[in-house]
Assembly symmetry: C2
Homo-oligomer: 205 residues x 2
DNA sequence: TTGTGTGAAAGTTTTCACAGCA
DNA sequence: TGCTGTGAAAACTTTCACACAA
């Protein structure tokens, strides 16, 4: 079953496996099994094996998966085998939290630029990144950054997205609710905290 | 097709429809169509109609859906027709951003308590909520709060989750990566920013 | 013996096409 | 005419069962 079309749901799980493997690696382990991985990320062992099978076989019957090799394979599939420079737009409460967040590093993301429309913030250094005016967004193209995080208020999100696309950004992580319009070639992933939270009561007994 | 089992994916979309309806209501509109709603949330019109059909018919052929009525219906299904008090644990960068976030209010969520393990923060008022020591978590049961947001570092998350379950919490929005172990009766929804971001490069041309 | 890889079956979700109401 | 509601088909995803490799 080599190199079939990878199901979307599998792609969604791959970063989770990657994080689990990262942790196992830090614990000094060299290999693991589909059962152990499954327990860590709360799926079934056959789901893990099936997911991996979409890009060909990685594991050894009897002994399991070699952690370093598997990490590299998954990183390559997700195109996380090279560093990605990221721009952040909106350095409010949420933006600052994003800048402080250490969780991006294991995936090879590095936030190297930050923009805010508040002139008082321009020039300030927050978590090692100097905040610039949003007017400077047009210079983004020269920097080779093609990933951006939008953490601005809802009302400004579409306008910022337009500017980012103009500046050559190809992928956007969007924290503002509802849909942002971009050309088809640009991928947007939206995280809406309230929308996710709103599902909780439904599932509570 | 009345009162069939509601697909999980439909439940995931309901809060999104709710937000769109909220906006339409604020714009002074009284009714809308499946096509308009679909455009706002980036799905197809037949998906919208199918989703609504799982709880019975709401709309009028020819004229569409009455916004207020539809909002109430969806809120009732999601059990968002009553206010929900929420406790926040972890008032760091992310926790503060959550406290400041206005997006919860339209769904009826109200963050009324905040806890942090840093004794220096105890007693401080942040965005109208007084921060308390995590030692006070055991008093949570008396307050009638059964929803919590975990915004603590990864290493403390499981321990906090255990305490929350002990205190009678039935639903948890978890910002720390990887899986948190809770009894089956408790629902956990995890938001992992980095894991979502990690899918972007795969989809970028 | 332990643990992988994978066809086939079962289950879920999306898409389509169209009947029918206002 | 405009727009809904829905059965049926198609597409996608998960689960199972088991052959087989170390």
């Amino acid at each position: 079953m080599r190199y079939r079309k990878i199901p979307n749901e599998t792609v969604r799980r791959l970063p989770v496996y990657l994080r689990a493997l990262h942790i196992l690696g830090q614990q000094g382990k060299a290999s693991t099994s589909s059962t152990d991985l499954a327990d860590m990320v709360a799926v079934n062992s056959w789901q893990v094996r099936k997911d991996f099978s979409y890009f060909g076989a990685f594991g050894k019957p009897g002994s399991g998966y070699e952690i370093d090799g598997l990490k590299k394979q998954i990183a390559r599939i997700l195109r996380l085998d090279t560093e990605h420079k990221v721009a952040l737009v909106g350095v409010g409460n949420l933006g600052s939290a994003v800048l402080a967040y250490a969780g991006f590093a294991p995936y090879g993301f590095d936030i190297v630029a930050a923009y805010d429309c508040d002139p008082k913030k321009a020039g300030k250094k927050i978590h090692n990144v100097t905040v610039e005016s949003v007017a400077k967004l047009k210079d983004l193209r020269k920097t080779g950054i093609n990933l951006a995080i939008i953490a601005v208020p809802e009302s400004a999100a579409q306008q910022i997205a337009d500017q980012l696309v103009q500046a050559g950004v190809k992928g956007i992580l969007n924290f503002s609710p509802l849909h942002i319009q971009v050309p088809k070639r640009v991928k947007v992933i939206t995280i809406d905290i309230a929308v996710d939270m709103a599902r909780l009561p439904y599932y509570m007994s």
